[in-house]
């Protein structure tokens, strides 16, 4: 099968959906050519679809988020880009009080078919305001769906679904994933929300990972395999809706669970998974549930400090070894 980058996969999804449905349009800062957006996902799209459908906005996050909600309420299907997930905070009101709630408050009359694409994560010395992982804020809000693709294949299939769904979606990419390559079929496909993907089968420990940490968990799996330890890597792909069944099935098989994400540990997505598994599979667990997440601190600038708080394969592998040894 052909291999393309995560970035190209996202771009293909946008192009296909814009061709398929003329109500789909893009909205965001610096997304038109020649700049084509900060991470170049939309590069070329204004040349194909024109600036009426690839609408470049001033630096007005609250304004364009509200405008997207308004357009969605009245028959359009906007795909908004926030250059950095850190800047979604400028538009929190529209996201949390409007996009997430209008359907409910209107007694089910309204639909808010907007996709809010953005990217997060550390790894480039971008410091405290350009490298956060704040998916938990959105995951916490009833009314929002949250997707975090870790591969080119998932990125394309999930984005196409996100655009077709009638609910607001926070679609979180990762800055270090854009250049990663993966197999993506030429033929059209979509990936449903709420279906996890077992990225690697294993028997000794279940590792639930999201976004960038899926890649780290797969590396850890290679390292551990050489030591005779077999881990199962489960990528939920969408944090909400969450495919807890797949995770529970895996835990029933391995009897151990470790959850990893780049976001700070306190109040993170891992806590939700841990609570649900503790509830649904308590009797199957041989050891306490583990989290390998960033310490709850802002992202430091200096490379060595940033490395220190980032999740890598050795942090995951070390914790798995301890779990297996009963050393926790």
């Amino acid at each position: 099968m052909r291999e393309i980058t995560y970035r190209e996969a996202l771009k293909e999804a946008l192009i296909e959906e814009m061709k398929r449905d003329e109500r789909v349009f893009l909205l965001g800062e610096d997304i038109a050519d020649p700049f084509g957006s900060a991470y170049k996902v939309t590069l070329g799209l204004s040349s194909i679809f024109g600036t009426d459908r690839v609408i470049q906005t001033p630096i007005s996050e609250q304004g364009f988020t509200g405008a997207a909600v308004g357009a969605a309420l009245t028959g359009m299907r906007p795909v908004v880009e926030f250059m950095y997930i850190d800047f979604t905070t400028m538009a929190m009101e529209q996201l949390v009080n409007q996009a997430a709630k209008i359907r409910y408050m209107s007694g089910g009359q309204a639909k808010v078919p907007v996709v809010f694409r953005t990217q997060g994560g550390p790894g480039r010395s971008s410091a405290a305001q350009h490298a956060q992982s704040i998916e938990a804020l959105f995951h916490h809000i009833p009314g929002l769906l949250v997707a975090m693709p870790s591969s080119a294949y998932d990125a394309k299939g999930l984005l196409k679904t996100a655009i077709r769904l009638d609910d607001p979606v926070i679609f979180i990419e990762q800055k270090l994933l854009y250049n990663t390559k993966g197999e993506v079929p030429e033929e059209e496909y979509t990936i449903p929300f709420g279906v996890a993907d077992v990225k690697r089968n294993g028997t000794d420990c279940t590792v639930v990972a999201t976004s960038m940490t899926v890649l780290k968990a797969l590396k850890a799996a290679d390292i551990l395999a050489e030591e005779g330890i077999s881990i199962e890597v489960v990528d939920p792909r969408t944090l909400f809706p969450l495919d807890i069944e797949t995770i529970v099935e895996s835990v029933k098989k391995t009897s151990r669970l470790l959850i990893t994400h780049e976001a700070p540990e306190r109040g993170g997505f891992a806590a939700e998974v841990a609570a649900q598994v503790a509830n649904l599979a308590f009797d199957y667990l041989d050891a306490p549930i583990q989290r390998v997440c960033a310490p709850s601190v802002p992202i430091p600038f200096a490379r060595n400090m940033e490395d220190y708080i980032m999740i890598d394969e050795s942090k995951i592998a070390d914790r798995v070894r301890k779990l297996i040894r009963g050393d926790i």
Partner: protein, 345 residues
């Protein structure tokens, strides 16, 4: 403004003041050129937004300020903080992520702060420093001092709600804040005409009943005079001022952006207006600067920059665990009370 006026020997500025401005502009340009070199060599990480071309705005502004006045700055803040008093060597140390940097290596280029001289923060979030400056001005009034607060921000920031809310509050409260918009005609790739239908910022500020003017941001003396008036007004309790300084960045948005959206002719035209070249010409005309002194200034600055790089390189690399400190005053990052501090609570 007529040319004759501009070229006249200024009676309000001494030779020393003018030479200090000239030197500072050169220092900023040299600092950024050096930072770019070591960024491209891989010694400096993160983002590097250069203000090359815009030096006259912060230098003119800060020449009218006192050490205890406040500034807030932006992602493109090297010139602003150097003008307010930051030292080259500690700036480099920060860019290198070292313990002697202004923020111990935790902030980097976009987040330089030095509270000891009123630099209450550069900022990675466009427009967010503007209301913070209004708050500093409110605090000045509440504490009854005669300080002023200046907020530097770009043209792009004027499209944010924060900008409008900050102007409205400042006007309502009549606090001693000076809004200095460095209009370099671009917000990342977007020309000014894409940020606002009518590019008249003076009228916009006036609609909030804030005295406002637009100055030539390529003329350090013009910027100084405009800010000087605003400072007088602020110190005497007459409230906020808005100043638009029209300027240009001679480079892309950040190092690595080729600036494909900036027309060549436009770049050429603005390079001809270079504020450093202009002041050099004036200083020579007024008999304040000889070629020899000019060369000496360049040599001194080169030495200061080289020393600064050496200082940064030899500064201690922070312990990785330092990442966990400075989150709270009273507690560590896990919520455990910190002994010395919690006693004061």
């Amino acid at each position: 403004m007529d040319r004759k006026n501009q070229e006249e020997l200024p009676s309000d500025l001494t030779k020393e003041q003018l030479l200090a401005m000239y030197r500072k502009m050169q220092l900023i340009r040299g600092f950024e050129g050096t930072a770019k070199k070591y960024f491209e060599a891989g010694e400096i990480g993160g983002f590097l937004h250069l203000s090359v071309g815009q030096e006259a705005v912060p230098v003119g502004t800060c020449s009218a300020l006192r050490k205890d006045d406040y500034i807030t700055s932006t992602h493109r803040g090297h010139g602003d903080v150097l003008s307010k008093g930051c030292e080259v060597k500690r700036m480099f140390a920060e860019l290198y992520g070292r313990t002697d940097g202004y923020c111990k290596g935790k902030g980097g280029s976009m987040h330089i702060a030095d509270f000891s001289q009123g630099i209450i923060g550069a900022n990675g979030i466009v427009s967010s420093g503007i209301p913070i400056a209004v708050g500093a001005a409110l605090s000045i009034r509440m504490r009854g001092t005669d300080q002023v607060a200046v907020s530097f921000f770009g043209d792009g920031a004027t499209a944010e709600g924060s900008f409008h809310e900050a102007l409205n509050l400042a006007s309502l409260w009549q606090v001693p804040v000076i809004f200095v918009c460095q209009n370099n005609l671009y917000a990342l790739s977007q020309p000014w005409s894409h940020s606002a239908r009518d590019g008249n910022l003076v009228e916009r500020a006036q609609s909030y009943h804030i005295p406002a003017e637009s100055v030539d941001g390529m003329d350090v003396i013009a910027v100084y005079r405009s800010v000087e008036k605003a400072v007088d007004r602020a110190r005497s309790g007459d409230g906020p001022t808005f100043i638009e300084a029209r300027t240009y960045r001679f480079m892309g948005h950040y190092v690595g952006d080729p600036g494909a959206y900036m027309p060549e002719e436009e770049q050429e035209e603005w390079r001809k207006k270079d504020a450093i070249a202009k002041l050099r010409r004036q200083l020579k005309m007024w008999g304040y600067l000889t070629d020899k002194v000019d060369e000496q200034i360049a040599t001194d600055i080169e030495a200061e920059l080289q020393d600064g790089i050496e200082y940064a390189r030899s500064s201690v690399i922070p312990e990785p665990r330092e990442a966990l400190n400075d989150v709270y005053v009273h507690f560590d990052y896990l919520g455990r009370p910190l002994k010395e501090e919690s006693n004061h609570a």
